[in-house]
């Protein structure tokens, strides 16, 4: 009876999740699966070492120690090496494909080759193991197949995170704009069709989990602001932040902003609710902090990992660079240079790295849409931004009332942007500091902000015309996704 009761409770909990969440989850997951099937093996950034990490963990049950963690250094298992060497690769243009090579590689992989090789994790060895431990599940499910079968299984599993990101963006928009249901769907669907997110999530890459956790964090924080900070909500915030921290170190940017959010919520809660809010805040801190702190301690004590590796480069001392140079660099990554700053880039970094990159720069930061496409996208984006700002202006009273919540979103965004900027500066060799090393995918943990912007744009024209704008946005997003798929097909296979 108790098992049945428990099952019933679980079912009720699942049923209480809005259908729109599941619809967006399916859209995001299936779209990332499309990318997983079409993208050539190992062409998602750093997929060779990520797959190597997952393979070692799945085969040995152990977390790999760091050996050679230089970017681009590969020392993979015999089996993965056979697969990697069979995939034609070109940084610059379409590679040469050969059916005979395919047959030879598949035949080689049918043989029993060595699978367990600890240095295979390469530069990814510094990443926390959570994502790779989860990837061990599809790896084992497909263990009867070849390496490519297991790689595809891991990619398809990773696609679930794209679905979660889309679903949580739906829920985030639902919290922000409770009176505009069409805008929630627009938010979730637009994220499901965001091609860069689908491309990365359709590969073996822990950033997929970070994007989903980032979206969940925005949703849970919004829920805490609007419905009160309960132990349950606090646990959800802690879980989202904890997963983000255990996915990639750049999530550290969220920590001060979430701390600010918890403080603001506790401070603004009414005295009878304050005790409950405090309990929720404590739970959030514990659930997010304990696993990550344990990972940091284990990294130092057991695995001899440098602290910098767990902090996305934040802890790397800025050798040879003065603080003013670092500030100027990070500033110019996102904004035009101020009069007293030397130009750090001979191109418009905010446009080229972030905007054009977000519209679509794929592979190993290799190829993007032609200039005319990005220009059209910029015009559309400016139009949508104007609509979103108009919606905010119209709701300025609500915005004023909800200033702590708005401040939190600004802080979450600013802190992540800053952490990514500092990491890009500190991890970029000095000879490469004038070239576009930063990648738009680093900011995708903020995809909920993109979703909220589009939801606001769809809300701006009101109840009558809002759905029409929303439907047009969704068609554009789906078209953008299809265009990015065709661009990738042309780049790799024509």
């Amino acid at each position: 009876v108790s098992v049945r009761a428990r099952l019933g409770r679980r079912l009720r909990a699942v049923r209480s999740v809005p259908r729109g969440f599941w619809a967006c989850f399916v859209l995001g997951t299936v779209n990332a699966c499309v990318w997983a099937v079409l993208t050539p093996s190992f062409q998602v950034p750093d997929e060779v070492v990520h797959a190597g990490y997952a393979q070692y963990l799945a085969e040995s049950g152990k977390v790999p120690r760091p050996f050679d963690t230089r970017a681009g250094a590969f020392d993979v298992s015999e089996e993965e090496a056979a697969a990697v060497n069979g995939v034609p690769f070109s940084y610059q243009t379409v590679p040469t494909w050969s059916e005979r090579t395919d047959r030879d590689v598949q035949r080689t992989l049918d043989r029993r080759l060595d699978r367990e090789h600890e240095p295979a994790a390469g530069a990814a060895a510094n990443y926390p193991p959570l994502y790779f431990a989860l990837e061990a599940i599809p790896y084992h499910v497909a263990s009867g197949g070849s390496f490519f079968d297991r790689l595809l299984a891991m990619r398809l599993f990773s696609a679930l995170f794209a679905g979660l990101a889309a679903g949580f963006c739906f829920l985030f928009a639902r919290e922000l704009l409770p009176g505009a249901p069409w805008a929630w769907t627009v938010a979730g669907a637009a994220v499901a069709f965001q091609p860069l997110l689908a491309f990365v999530s359709g590969g073996v890459n822990p950033e997929a989990m970070l994007y989903a956790a980032g979206a969940a964090l925005f949703y849970t924080v919004a829920r805490a602001f609007r419905r009160g900070l309960t132990p349950g909500t606090g646990a959800a915030i802690g879980a989202a932040l904890g997963v983000a921290l255990l996915a990639k170190g750049s999530a550290l940017g969220f920590v001060p902003a979430v701390a600010l959010a918890l403080l603001l919520i506790v401070w603004r809660s009414r005295p009878p609710e304050r005790r409950r809010a405090l309990k929720g805040a404590a739970l959030a801190v514990a659930i997010a902090g304990i696993p990550f702190t344990a990972w940091l301690a284990a990294s130092a004590a057991v695995y001899d990992r440098p602290g910098a590796s767990a902090t996305a480069g934040i802890a790397v001392p800025a050798a040879d660079d003065t603080l003013s140079e670092e500030i100027a660099y990070v500033w110019q990554l996102y904004l035009p240079p101020l009069p007293f700053m030397d130009d750090r880039f001979d191109f418009a970094a905010p446009r080229v790295i972030w905007f054009d990159g977000f519209i679509g720069r794929f592979g190993y930061n290799q190829y993007s849409f032609p200039g005319w496409f990005n220009d059209v996208a910029l015009v559309v984006a400016l139009g949508l931004a104007a609509l979103a700002l108009a919606a905010l202006f119209r709701r300025r009273d609500a915005l004023r009332r909800r200033w702590p919540e708005a401040l939190t979103y600004v802080a979450m965004t600013a802190a992540l942007v800053l952490v990514v900027g500092v990491a890009v500066f500190r991890l970029t060799p000095s000879y490469a500091q004038g070239v576009p090393v930063g990648q738009a995918r680093y900011l995708l943990p903020l995809v909920a902000i993109y979703a909220a912007g589009l939801a606001l744009a769809a809300r701006a024209p009101g109840r009558r015309f809002g759905p029409a704008v929303g439907a047009a946005i969704v068609v554009l997003a789906a078209g953008h996704n299809l265009a990015a798929i065709l661009l990738s097909l042309e780049r790799y296979y024509t």
């Binding site: 099937v37 243009t93 050969s98 078209g479």
Partner: protein
């Protein structure tokens, strides 16, 4: 305008989705219908050094040639005009195709040399030679040969170290995006999970389109009064 005002929010949304879809589809048709010379492949070598080929000499390299190739395109640099540069494709000791391009003082870059015959099937280990028939030294660009690869056979190299020459391949004439799709379908399933085949591209594209339609339906449903 008054007619628009009488439409329900859902009808307006359907109209907006339809109009936007027409614009998006028109964009796809225009882009995919553009014809241009298309690469059939490339050895993807980074261009960081070069082989030095004096007049009358050749640089040769073993290469995989993709099916449907009708032009070979090395990265050439030649300062003076006059004469020509020739290319040959040999396999198993047989000359399969040759081509010549007038040496017009190439700026450094990809130079297409049209072959007299199309290579119908992919070749493994074919020998590609580029012969300098001009009056000045020819530079054929590529990257330092590594990992035991002997690199190209050439009279000399810029740094003394052997170079792997960059070679791109093009098909015959100009092709539109539509005509490329069957080739894409063949290639998109290579060196992947064994159960995938050319069918997977068509299924994936159909699913991507169906997802777009499903998302619009969701928005329309959420626009109910």
């Amino acid at each position: 305008m008054r007619k628009l005002g009488s439409l329900s929010p859902r009808a307006l949304a359907l109209l907006a989705a339809s109009l936007t879809a027409v614009v998006v589809i028109a964009g796809f048709v225009v882009v995919l219908s553009q014809s241009e010379p298309r690469r059939t492949g490339s050895n993807g070598i980074v261009v960081s050094s070069h082989a030095v080929v004096p007049p009358g000499e050749s640089v040769c390299q073993e290469e995989r040639v993709p099916a449907g190739t009708a032009s070979v395109a090395p990265w050439l640099g030649l300062d003076l005009a006059g004469g020509s540069v020739a290319a040959t494709v040999e396999s198993d000791g047989r000359l399969l195709a040759r081509g010549t391009v007038a040496a017009g003082g190439f700026p450094t870059g990809i130079t297409r040399i049209d072959l007299d015959r199309t290579i119908p099937r992919a070749l493994e280990g074919a020998t590609i030679c580029v012969e300098n028939r001009a009056r000045d030294t020819l530079r054929v660009y590529g990257d330092i040969a590594r990992f035991g690869n002997p690199g190209a056979r050439a009279p000399g190299f810029a740094t003394g170290e052997p170079v792997l020459v960059r070679l791109d391949w093009y098909g015959r004439g100009a092709e539109s995006g539509w005509t490329l799709l069957p080739r894409v379908a063949e290639r998109a399933s290579l060196v992947k999970a064994a159960f995938l085949g050319p069918w997977s591209l068509w299924v994936a594209l159909a699913v991507a389109i169906a997802l777009g339609v499903a998302a619009v339906v969701l928005v329309l449903r959420s626009a109910r009064p």
